[in-house]
């Protein structure tokens, strides 16, 4: 039980929710699924603002972008066919690996992106998918997710709500995601999202994020640089993996060691690149 809570609000308008957030600053907490709040028994929470009745539970495709409302649960997202347009065959398995089926019915996109555990799946996934994030801080704003996380997002979120995530359904993008776990149901001990854009057989643009290092996802610019402008050959894959095994920005924690993470970073990259290579080659043939 969150003992200190004195009020649970269920606003119906974003403005109202935002007003409550400001009014009770710094003692207000937004409630998405509420998993994190109940799990961590956040003692400081005094005023809870439930988001269930806000118009934040939507999944829609607009102008080549998939927009997912902050209150959509992972289970709901998984059940939506539009996912396949974003990243065929790879987003679904990635989402299906998160937490447990029960918790996927609780965890919301907004709650997950706001909490942003360094080991979390959604930040890495959506960063890899070159997404944008929509927030409401009195005005509706949209940021590149990467820039949002590079800034002091925790401070921003004390006075703002996440409203949605916007995922570009870019045609030329090939995406793959991998996470390493101890058992089938586990948080990732290392995760990696890769997007590649090809032009005339060559990698035009690469985006690679490594998360659960155990720190927050980092973009692997060096590896991206190595890949860009090249064909995705076995040789290039080998070179990139070797480079990452050397340089992966990882550390030890009680779960696994730094050396193991380094090794895994290479393994995940190899798997991701191989998957993309396969998809790219079959799409060329088709």
């Amino acid at each position: 039980m969150l003992k200190e809570v004195v009020e649970f609000y269920a606003p119906r308008e974003l403005e109202e929710a935002h007003g409550l957030l400001l009014k009770h600053y710094p003692h207000a907490q937004l409630v998405g699924g509420g998993l994190d709040l109940t799990w961590r028994e956040r003692k400081e929470a005094r005023y809870l603002i439930g988001l269930d009745h806000l118009p934040l539970k939507f999944i829609k495709s607009e102008e080549g972008t998939l927009e997912v409302g902050a209150m959509v649960t992972i289970r709901e997202l998984l059940e939506n066919e539009a996912l396949e347009n974003v990243a065929p065959d790879s987003l679904k398995p990635a989402l299906k690996a998160i937490a447990t089926p029960l918790l996927r019915g609780v965890i919301t996109v907004g709650g997950s992106l706001a909490r942003a555990y360094p080991w979390s799946d959604l930040p890495a996934l959506f960063l890899g998918l070159e997404s944008k994030i929509g927030i409401f801080d009195g005005k509706y704003r949209v940021f590149e997710l990467r820039e949002f996380y590079e800034g002091d997002f925790r401070e921003v979120l004390r006075r703002a709500l996440i409203t949605k995530v916007l995922i570009p359904q870019s045609k030329g993008r090939y995406f793959s995601y991998r996470r390493f776990t101890r058992t089938e149901v586990d948080i990732p001990l290392l995760n990696q999202a890769v997007s590649l854009h090809f032009r005339e057989g060559k990698i035009e643009h690469a985006r690679i994020f490594l998360g659960a290092r155990p720190g927050f996802p980092l973009e692997l610019e060096e590896i991206e640089g190595l890949l860009e402008g090249k064909e995705l050959s076995e040789g290039v894959i080998g070179e990139a993996c070797a480079m990452l095994r050397e340089s992966a920005p990882v550390e030890s924690d009680f779960r696994i060691s730094k050396e193991f993470r380094k090794h895994l970073a290479g393994v995940l990259l190899e798997e991701n690149l191989r998957e993309i290579k396969g998809k790219y080659e079959s799409s060329i043939q088709a």
Binding site: T183, V185, I256, F260, V267
Partner: protein, 768 residues
């Protein structure tokens, strides 16, 4: 073999309907007006003296009804281990002490109107600690100048507390050194197990209250209600006659509840306040402060001649019992006594070792009870020996394992922390277990396949054989009472403790088989120290075998009483039988209903309650046997091991309820696979557990399990009820060695430390 009517049938679990409809059957599914809620303050240090403890602020908090610290509770050394009296575990625990001995040790307890108030009160207790140097590695416990964890003068029953030794054994049969020198092949290694926790879904919970007579009633999730009553009486200085322990349905135990861990505190709170009091461990407390498996380092040396006959077995163990010695000596003895007789062809056997204190969580009873740790070492060593000799490890096992009519001197030499009892193995289906398992698994065919099945992906095939016991001979007693009602139905009252295993059902089947009635005609009550007769409780694989025989004896007596009445009523002189609830005269076809007999006995003639009580102690502990086979896949890029297929062939005597038997087997295999693959507490350098939750202590889920095939190899154990032995523990012993052997088969690396994490595989492969 005789055909039975009820025994051997998949009878529906007698408590099954209540469980699938969510009836209020567990300890906590019940609330009393005015109930207080308890919380325990835990030590943040691995080893420290409490210099000062001040609870006055907590006591003043509104809603706090009782605060206990070492200052206001009786000081009496005791053991929390729920074992027969006198317990073989050392008396080294106190309700509260001035000293704390591990992170999570008891410091104080608060009982208040609500859980939140109790929690708040804990934060108001001021404690000043003086930190002491701690022992966080069992190897350090034995070093000269090591801190002494139990320096209290009251300690009793520990081998040498000044050197942190709880138990020590130096046993030799024959001349092991000479035999090893004479052997053509010798192998040696050390195998190490981890801090594993039982993780029953229902944590420890107890509720105490005073009944209308002023008797202290404790409703507890316990495997040992009678031992709990005895220990509480001793500890609190109140007579047995003033305590009643009720065991409702239990949400799993696996040994963790063969302890008295919280009952003392609810009892104190109720005695002090006269109000009902409840205490439940949180999941974190369950991990850290309840009990765990004993982490052991087991060294094994084997010697064999050219023909592959074992000549010598040496087993030397360092067992870490943690901060207190509950079950320390007995678990250690079992690591030898339940493993070494399996290879009785070796005439020279040495069993040595120490059980030591450390400033880490307290180990206790865990399904397998030491045999798990012993088999990991022994069965891996056997494989190693077979490799050295260049023969199939299956054949090496066949040459050397025990057979019906044989014995082992170990049975007599190693018992429950002391000498054991000699016995000859009467029933033993191990040969068939190996044979049937081998066939279903396709052992030879699989082992001839290429191991690399895809680039970097390897398959391997491993096996292990094992035995356990059935009850503790000449120590443990079980009893049962059966009463008949006037409608011809029956009540079976047992102290035996069904903790989810299905033993109420098994015992009902045994009673009904003996009397000749269907299971629907009997109601089982377990267990209530005021209303059911004594039984030692649920441990040592004994309920089916030992309590079952007590039930059978009681049922036989009841049947005799029924037949006596029936003879009179039928005017019969010939043989009578009871079948499907009817008494029949053989030959004449005359019948009588049980209702007629019941009514007459209550109201008409020769008036009496038809009922009987019987007790049973066994002179032997017949081992069940098993052969396990596993196929694993190892990804050499990540190091991950995935079990693919598991075949278990098991001889548990006659399976009283094959379906429940299969459940015991599969359940223990999956728990054992958890030991092999992922389970284990991790500590920081100050002895603090880092993963006391399901997020980071990885038990297996439905997605992690292999295909599991169970083969029941039925034998008939003459000393057991209708030929039954036991099955609850044995199969937890297989996965550690079988998986390690399979991984060796795949990759040629020896996993000697559990769990076999992906990282450890890659390290052995030299990839990191």
């Amino acid at each position: 073999m005789k055909k039975y009517r009820v025994v051997g049938q998949d009878v529906e679990k007698v408590d099954g309907r209540a469980l699938v409809t969510g009836q209020p059957v567990f300890t906590d599914d019940f609330s009393l007006p005015g109930m207080l809620y308890g919380k325990i303050l835990r030590s943040p240090y691995a080893h420290a003296l409490i210099k000062e403890i001040n609870a006055s602020e907590a006591e003043k908090l509104k809603g706090v009804e009782a605060v206990f610290t070492y200052k206001n509770v009786p000081r009496k050394a005791y053991t929390t281990a729920g074992q027969g009296y006198p317990e073989p575990s050392p008396y080294d625990s106190f309700i509260f002490d001035k000293k704390v001995r591990f992170v999570g040790d008891r410091v104080a307890a608060v009982f208040a109107e609500s859980l939140s108030i109790a929690e708040e009160a804990l934060s108001l207790i001021k404690v000043e600690y003086e930190e002491l140097p701690a022992i966080l590695d069992p190897e350090d416990a034995l070093k000269d100048g090591a801190p002494v964890i139990h320096d209290e003068p009251e300690i009793q029953g520990a081998h040498d507390p000044s050197r942190n030794i709880v138990s020590h054994v130096d046993l030799e049969i024959g001349d092991v050194d000479q035999a090893l020198r004479d052997s053509d092949f010798v192998v040696e290694g050390i195998w190490e197990t981890q801090y594993a926790q039982h993780c029953p879904m229902e944590a420890h919970i107890a509720i105490a209250y005073l009944d209308e007579r002023g008797k202290l009633v404790i409703r507890s999730s316990t495997q040992v209600p009678f031992h709990a009553r005895r220990i509480l009486s001793f500890l609190l200085g109140i007579p047995i006659s003033k305590i009643r322990v009720i065991k409702p349905r239990i949400g799993g135990g696996f040994g963790a509840k063969q302890e008295v861990l919280i009952e003392d505190l609810v009892a104190l709170a109720t005695l002090k306040t006269k109000r009902p009091a409840r205490l439940e461990l949180t999941r974190e407390e369950e991990f850290v402060s309840s009990r765990t498996m004993h982490p052991m380092k087991v060294k094994v040396r084997l010697g064999a001649d050219k023909e592959g006959m074992l000549k010598a077995i040496e087993m030397d163990i360092l067992s870490n019992t943690g901060a207190y010695g509950a079950h320390g000596p007995t678990v250690f003895f079992n690591a030898g006594s339940k493993t070494l007789p399996l290879y009785n062809k070796a005439e020279n056997v040495r069993f040595t070792g120490n059980v030591v204190y450390t400033n880490l969580p307290v180990a206790g009873a865990y399904r397998g009870y030491g045999a798990t740790e012993g088999y990991f070492a022994l069965e891996c060593a056997i494989d190693e020996l077979a490799r050295k000799m260049g023969i199939d490890p299956l054949i090496l096992r066949q040459k050397n394992h025990i057979r019906p009519g044989e014995t082992s001197p170990i049975f007599k030499k190693l018992g429950e922390g002391r000498e054991g009892v000699p016995q000859t193995v009467e029933s033993c289906g191990l040969e068939e277990c190996i044979e049937n398992g081998r066939e279903l698994f396709e052992w030879e065919k699989k082992r001839s396949l290429p191991r690399e099945v895809a680039p970097g992906i390897y398959r391997g095939y491993g096996m292990a054989i094992m035995m356990q016991g059935s009850a503790i001979p000449l120590v443990d007693m079980a009893s049962a009472t059966i009463k008949m009602n006037e409608d011809g139905s029956f009540l079976l009252l047992v102290g035996a403790t069904d903790l989810g295993t299905g033993s109420d059902t098994i015992l009902a089947q045994i009673a009904c088989e003996e009397i000749g009635i269907p299971v629907k005609n009997i109601t089982v009550y377990s267990s209530d120290t005021d209303f059911t007769p004594f039984d030692k409780g649920a441990y040592a694989s004994s309920t089916t075998y030992l309590s079952g025989e007590a039930v059978r004896k009681a049922a036989r007596k009841v049947k005799e009483q029924i037949l006596t009445v029936a003879h009179i009523l039928l005017g019969a002189s010939g043989d009578l039988v009871i079948e499907d609830g009817l008494v029949k005269e053989v030959g004449t076809g005359k019948t009588l209903t049980l209702e007629e007999i019941g009514l007459r006995s209550f109201y008409m003639a020769d008036q009496r309650q038809i009922q009987a009580t019987a007790s049973h102690v066994s002179e032997v502990s017949p081992p069940p046997f098993a052969a396990h086979f596993v196929e694993v896949e190892v990804d050499t890029r990540t190091g991950k091991i995935t079990p693919i297929l598991y075949v278990a062939a098991v001889d548990c005597g006659v399976a009283v309820n094959p379906q429940l038997t299969r459940g015991q087997i599969i359940g223990s295999i999956v728990n054992g696979l958890g030991f092999a693959l992922s389970e284990g507490l991790v500590f920081n350098t100050r002895g603090m557990p880092l993963n006391p939750n399901f997020l980071d202590y990885k038990v297996l889920s439905s997605l992690d399990i292999p295909e599991i095939e169970v083969i029941l190899v039925e034998t008939h154990e003459p000393s057991g009820p209708f030929g039954a032995k036991s099955v609850a523990e044995i199969c937890i012993n297989g996965p550690l060695p079988a998986v390690a052997n399979a991984v060796y088969d795949a990759l040629g690396i020896q996993l000697k430390k559990a769990p076999f994490t992906a990282e450890s595989v890659l390290r052995l492969l030299g990839k990191i």
